[in-house]
Amino acid sequence: MSESLPVGAKPFEFTGNAKEWFGIWIVNLLLSIVTLGIYSAWAKVRHRKYFYGNTYVEGRNFDYHATGKQILIGRLIIIGVYVLLNVLLLAVPPLGWLMLVVLIFAYPWLIVRGMLFNARMSSFSNVRFGFIGTTGRAFLVFLVYPILMTLTLFTTFPIWDRALKRFSVDNHKLGQATFKLDVNLSAFYMAFLWAIGFVVLVNVIGTLLLYFVFHDAVSPTPDGVQNLPVLILIQVLFFAAFLPAAFIYQALTRNAVYNNTTLQGGHRFASNVTAPKLLWIAVSNMVVVICTLFLMLPWAQVRIARYLADHTGLIPGGSLDDFVSQQQEAGGAFGDAYADLEGIDVGLPI
């Protein structure tokens, strides 16, 4: 977790600023509301374009090329199907089982379509990304692995997580150049153990504190009164133990993923985010956003984008002038719309 990127790494740079993004964001929101949500398709494009367009490395920036119309059509298709399924489910309950089976197969397919659309609509230095993941592989990674993980009582969580990251990184291309993530499982298990270790440590300290400091408070109380302290305890545990643990895991695995990813042509990546800093930004962002009734959300988004960019680097293995776009059809945006609806991230792994 060193503070500086390795020698030779060119840091990413985010040039957007909160003031400017606030103006775009609030107008996006207003137009989306007065058009009953229709404008949200164009709003999404402006959001993506602003953040991609302001992310630079080696003087070159990213860009997002989808049009509002494409996004809107994709969303209308997904909304139509979604409402239809809901009404059908009410009308013919036994159909639910059939729908479940269909959805199980549609889910990985939609995710792949979403990733494909997003990749092909994104570019770096005028060259489009590509995606070559298959539905079969997605079925394995998004459905079969989680089931296996549950059966092994989540001890295999790092294996599943690495499979997810690999599915995303290995299947993306920049022009014709492929990405490759070659990372040892041990890195993921180490992150996992650090996170668990942290939770255990906090619990031990917490129990000791409770025992010595609040000795009277933990003595038996009549039933019913106990519920409140338990609820508070769960909240405290969440903020003191699980949330930081999640950020420890995220920070460590993000670094592992970037530091072990290569792009054809000898290019490598670097990341040195730290858990305390990530946690501090996330928690303070949340507090500020809620206290300002969401008005500071743009500021929070810019802040995290800037931190992540500053702590991510590219180690070029040669000229960045040699990438060439592949001719490709992006297909419909319905997979992307589905991912938006379900809150699944199918964007570039940046």
């Binding site: 107008v27 949500g37 374009k49 005028n126 002038d321 776009s325 609806l341």
Partner: protein, 353 residues
């Protein structure tokens, strides 16, 4: 770029079509007949691309992010010199939007309008969306929703009614008298069917399905055989059906979910939960408003059919006495409290007289 040669034209960088090859370049314009002719030159004065101004694809401005100009052959020119681009192209598509997105005092107004718009959307917009969706739902589907729901209820929780035929007839008579008091077009629009079931978990209760099917529990008929009470409660359920409360609630919750998912999609995972939970609490007040509205409908209907509207009050008074201490706080409940409803009924009856 500091030591770039001092050459005329609009400075920026050029990419060849579909290539990441990037080089310093500039745009030069000259007269080209009826339209301006634009050349893209690199620093060695080699022309990389050229076209009429009207044939160029100029990206809409977006904050201070670089502007891109794409030539017909795919070559791209990129610059952060926004003023020069604007001087070249004049107002383009998206200029006005860009103007209003600028950070200045006017944005406070936009914020205020936004908050107002959220409120109007919640208060009226969702109802409009629900009304449109209801208009597009074929009646056959609504009937089928009733049939489907009854299947699930019978399968999971209901037993056949143990009432005698006389008991059922008494209730049915009250029910028919109420339905006959409805306007003709309303009578035709919904199929009003009254079903009896033994629902051990629900106590004395009655509920309506969107298509017009009504279910009354055995416990209700046994505990409240008084026709005035029956009329009050059945009138309330008829109110739900006529005012299409079930469908409205269904479409309202679907629309809010979709709107939040797409509008606030990128607020981040923790915050999205906050928004969704806040919405659940707000939608409860909507549900309580529906109950009050159905109460009033039922009172007016039973009065019209010649029953004593105080019957509904009797029901809530008894329910309040038996279950009053188990009722949750008003703000976290789908129904107003019994005491609240008795008060509202009194006020309404006074108005009727």
């Amino acid at each position: 770029m500091g030591d770039a040669p001092k050459l005329p034209g609009l400075r920026g960088h050029a990419y060849a079509a579909r290539s990441s090859h990037r080089q310093p370049a500039r745009l030069l314009t000259r007269e080209g007949g009826e339209d301006l002719w634009v050349d893209l030159q690199n620093d060695e004065r080699a022309v990389l691309a050229s076209a009429h101004l009207s044939k160029l694809r100029i990206d809409a401005p977006l904050g201070s992010a670089p502007r891109k100009i794409t030539f017909p052959d795919g070559a791209v020119f990129e610059t952060r010199d926004h003023e020069a681009i604007e001087a070249l192209t004049g107002k383009t598509r998206g200029s006005m939007l860009h103007h209003y997105e600028g950070f200045n005092a006017r944005l406070f107004g936009v914020v205020a309008v936004c908050l107002a718009a959220v409120w109007v959307m919640w208060r009226y917009g969702l109802d409009i969306m629900a009304a449109v969706a209801i208009a597009f739902t074929p009646p056959a589907v609504i009937e089928q929703i009733d049939a489907g729901s009854m299947q699930s209820i019978d399968f999971t929780m209901a037993e056949p009614s143990k009432l005698t035929d006389e008991q059922k007839d008494e209730v049915e008579k009250v029910y028919r008298r109420l339905v006959r008091s409805l306007p003709d077009d309303v009578q035709e629009k919904h199929s009003f069917d009254l079903l009896f079931r033994d629902l051990p978990g629900m106590g004395p209760n009655a509920f309506a399905l969107p298509g017009g099917t009504m279910v009354m529990t055995d416990a209700f008929v046994k505990q409240f055989p008084d026709p005035n009470v029956l009329a009050g409660v059945l009138g309330h359920e008829i109110g739900h059906v006529v005012e299409e409360h079930g469908l409205k609630r269904l479409y309202r919750s679907l629309s809010t979910y979709l709107l939040i998912a797409f509008l606030a999609g990128d607020v981040g995972p923790i915050l999205e939960d906050v928004v969704l939970e806040g919405n659940v609490l707000l939608s409860l007040s909507f549900s309580r408003a529906q109950e009050t509205s159905a109460d009033e409908f039922g009172l007016a209907l039973s009065d019209e059919a010649g029953f004593d509207p105080a019957g509904l009050k009797l029901f809530f008074e008894k329910m309040g006495k038996e279950y009053g201490d188990q009722e949750p706080a008003q703000w976290m409940s789908t129904h107003p409290s019994s005491a609240e409803r008795v008060r509202a009924i009194d006020a309404f009856i006074n108005e009727l007289r």
